[in-house]
């Protein structure tokens, strides 16, 4: 592994971490598509700031992008509040228009400089190590590393300082407002943070990957835990993991790094989606199946108890009668009887089913009424 490779992975990992922090709250607040809108809409802000400063590394670019990002949020809110269109349509109207303006500005007036549309959309992480920060002849490493670290630090500070407020505003906005925590201010602060992160990251990874890193890892983390603090850490962890493995995927395929990182995010989410311990598709299916059998066994014990020691017990508790009375298929009934026997709920006397003590207790508990 060369130094360049290490630096690229470092930048990618920091980008992923910086995106996952605000992303967690976007995902929880059902505003994931705002990351898509903002990461596209900051383009005209970037272009104008670029024309003003003539450089792609000026802090003004961050400020310009962030300002436009917050404006986008306000604009969407404004359009929505006219009640002429719904919120999703409002988002879908605002950001393509702003993005189009940015693309046209670039195509018309900045075609020859580094700022070209493909780079904005797709990013070029492989170039990050070439843009170095040199102070007094000393090479301090790639500039992107410092920009991203600053933004990541800002994210960490924001989330730690306002953790309680964020938590409350996310899960109970009304209570937050009642307690005077100003959820609206917090909302715009979060949006500003998303914008700054998107601006800082676009140069390295492009606007689409910003969406992947903001939404994917937190969404996966959301399936793994019910606690906000764990979700934040898991989101950052998954993001960093995806960034590094994405780099190596790109290395192996000789393909776009940003694209590969988005792909690994997809793979990671798919894995969690299928195999998460409690909420994955497999676990849910298994639980449903188990519940089906548990319920059937319970039904069987109740049925047996209802007819226990009654004259019709010989008929009702006969194993062949189950499909009549409980409307079970033959195979299913046999399976339930076997499972219930194994669980020690019933026993057999000849072809008669009888309850064990445990089975009777289960049936009694099941039909207790108050």
């Amino acid at each position: 592994m060369t130094l360049f490779q290490l630096e690229i992975q470092l930048v990618a990992a920091i980008v992923a971490g910086a995106c996952a922090l605000p992303g967690t709250f976007l995902v929880l607040r059902s505003m994931a598509m705002m990351s898509d809108a903002i990461s596209h809409a900051i383009l005209p802000g970037l272009v104008v700031a670029f024309f003003l400063t003539g450089s792609l590394n000026s802090p003004l670019l961050l400020a310009g992008g962030a300002a436009v990002g917050v404006c986008t949020v306000a604009l969407v809110e404004l359009v929505r509040r006219t009640r002429l269109v719904r919120e999703d349509a409002a988002i879908g109207l605002v950001f393509p228009a702003l993005f189009s303006a940015g693309v046209i500005l670039i195509a018309r007036y900045a075609g020859d400089v580094h700022l070209d549309t493909d780079a904005v959309l797709l990013g070029e992480l492989a170039l990050a190590p070439f843009d170095r920060w040199i102070v007094g002849g000393y090479d301090l490493g790639p500039q992107a590393l410092y920009t991203m670290s600053t933004v990541a630090l800002a994210s960490v500070l924001f989330v730690t300082l306002f953790y309680k407020e964020l938590q409350l505003a996310t899960f109970d906005a009304a209570l937050a407002a009642t307690l005077g925590l100003m959820p609206v201010v917090l909302h715009y602060a979060l949006m500003a943070l998303v914008s700054v992160t998107a601006v800082a990251a676009f140069d390295a990874v492009g606007s689409i990957l910003v969406v992947a890193l903001m939404v994917g890892p937190p969404a996966a983390a959301h399936l793994l835990t019910d606690r906000l603090d764990r979700m934040v850490f898991l989101g950052v962890g998954i993001g960093v993991g995806c960034a590094v493995s994405g780099y190596w995927l790109a290395h192996a395929l000789d393909a776009s790094i940003a694209g590969s990182m988005a792909t690994t995010v997809g793979v990671a989410f798919l894995y969690v989606f299928l195999f998460a311990p409690a909420r994955g598709v497999v676990a849910v299916q298994r639980r449903r199946r188990r519940q089906r059998w548990t319920f059937a066994c319970k039904m069987l014990t109740i049925h047996l108890m209802q007819h226990e020691n009654l004259p019709d017990a010989a008929l009702e508790c006969h194993i062949d009668h189950l499909q009549d009375h409980l409307r079970w298929e033959v195979d299913f009934a046999g399976n339930v009887v076997r499972q219930a026997t194994q669980a020690g709920l019933i026993g057999q006397v000849g072809s008669q089913l009888v309850l064990t003590t445990a089975g009777r207790r289960l049936a009694n508990e099941a039909i207790v009424r108050d």
Partner: protein
């Protein structure tokens, strides 16, 4: 204009862009009404890997082949979004953002792999990012027309069912209609509408062509039929306008130009449409506000007049000001009332009701004090 009829390229471009506007306007109407605006965004981004894979597998750049690839990928993306929201607690917006960006990223990987292939003739695939109307040729337009025609025909055939789907799905189900299958059909048509436009507008901005014509049309009418027609017209108009402008000028990407055109149409519609338009709404608001204030002033004067035997007894302006603190425009209202012949000035600062004014006040008074 004459050029449009004679110049082959211009004619092809205009036809293609117009077609895409018509189809996306019609299907977009349903998407917007069903709150699926952003699904279009996900589908169009998701088409990218489909295009790349179709090319990689077949080596063909036939529009139909690429469009089928794009449609399959878009369709998979939709199915995935539904699966994720249906089986886990991940919300709709997160599922959209995730699927959109992951598919797009995978598409990038495939495109970059294609670029590195030895002597791969990949020129033209890049155009799918931002669209390139100038690259449209006749066979593209023919494919677009065929697919678009079929989609529109389906919309016409299933008009009643789609209308139910958009407005009252449960009622449709209670009628015994196969709503799930209809939903599937309509989503498939939406995918086709998006795929048709990819070459002209590009995957990044195609969603705007789904949302914007419908959002503009919504302002002009409350009827689904008219809305679809207006959306088709608006889509076609901005499609043709944007494509022609971008073809005529150098370094003007087609997709963004078309999107700016249609966005302009949306802004105009939101401001000036009758009934819903913001500008007219504000104007109406002001007119009725002025009328209400004027009537309030008249009634104030009437209240004062009722204290006297002669109801045309004049009263001082200062009294009226005291009765309506905060109404800064009292002078103007009084002048307007005088112009209407309902009151008349007496001396310098006093006003009295005219006989018409008394009649009008009585009418208003009884109207407002009805049980």
């Amino acid at each position: 204009m004459e050029e449009l009829l004679t110049d082959y390229t211009l004619r092809t471009v205009a036809l293609g862009a117009g077609l895409l506007g018509v189809v996306s306007g019609a299907l977009g109407t349903f998407a917007v009404l069903r709150r699926q605006s952003l699904l279009g965004d996900a589908i169009s981004h998701a088409a990218l890997p489909g295009i790349g894979l179709a090319f990689l597998l077949t080596g063909s750049k036939l529009p139909l082949v690429l469009m089928i690839g794009a449609a399959l990928a878009g369709w998979c993306a939709t199915a995935l979004v539904m699966a994720i929201t249906g089986t886990t607690r991940v919300k709709y917006d997160s599922a959209l953002g995730l699927v959109l960006s992951v598919f797009f990223g995978a598409g990038l990987v495939i495109l970059t792999v294609i670029q590195k292939l030895p002597d791969a003739n990949q020129a033209g695939l890049d155009a799918f990012l931002f669209g390139q109307a100038a690259a449209l040729v006749e066979r593209d337009v023919v494919t677009m027309a065929a697919l678009g025609g079929v989609s529109l025909l389906m919309v016409a055939l299933f008009w009643k069912e789609f209308k139910l789907l958009a407005f009252n799905e449960d009622f449709g189900r209670s009628l015994g209609l196969p709503m799930r299958q209809l939903d599937l059909l309509l989503t498939t048509l939406l995918v086709i509408a998006i795929v048709i436009g990819l070459q002209t507008v590009g995957v990044v901005l195609m969603s705007a062509m789904i949302i914007a014509p419908a959002a503009a049309a919504r302002q002009w009418t409350d009827r689904l039929g008219y809305m679809v027609l207006i959306a088709m017209g608006a889509g076609a108009l901005s499609g043709v306008a944007g494509a022609l402008v971008s073809t005529s000028a150098a370094r003007l990407p087609t997709g963004p130009t078309i999107v700016l055109c249609i966005s302009g149409v949306v802004v105009v519609s939101m401001l000036f449409a009758p009934n819903r338009g913001l500008a007219l709404r504000a104007l109406r608001h002001r007119t009725s506000n002025t009328r209400l204030q004027r009537e309030a002033t008249l009634l104030d004067l009437y209240q004062l007049a009722r204290q006297h035997a002669a109801q045309d007894h004049p009263h001082a302006e200062a009294t009226l000001v005291a009765m309506q603190p905060g109404a800064g425009s009292l002078r103007r209202q009084l002048r307007a009332l005088a112009e209407l012949g309902l009151i008349r000035p007496v001396g310098k600062h006093e006003w009295a009701l005219t006989p018409e004014g008394i009649a009008e006040s009585r009418r208003l008074y009884s109207e407002r004090n009805q049980p």
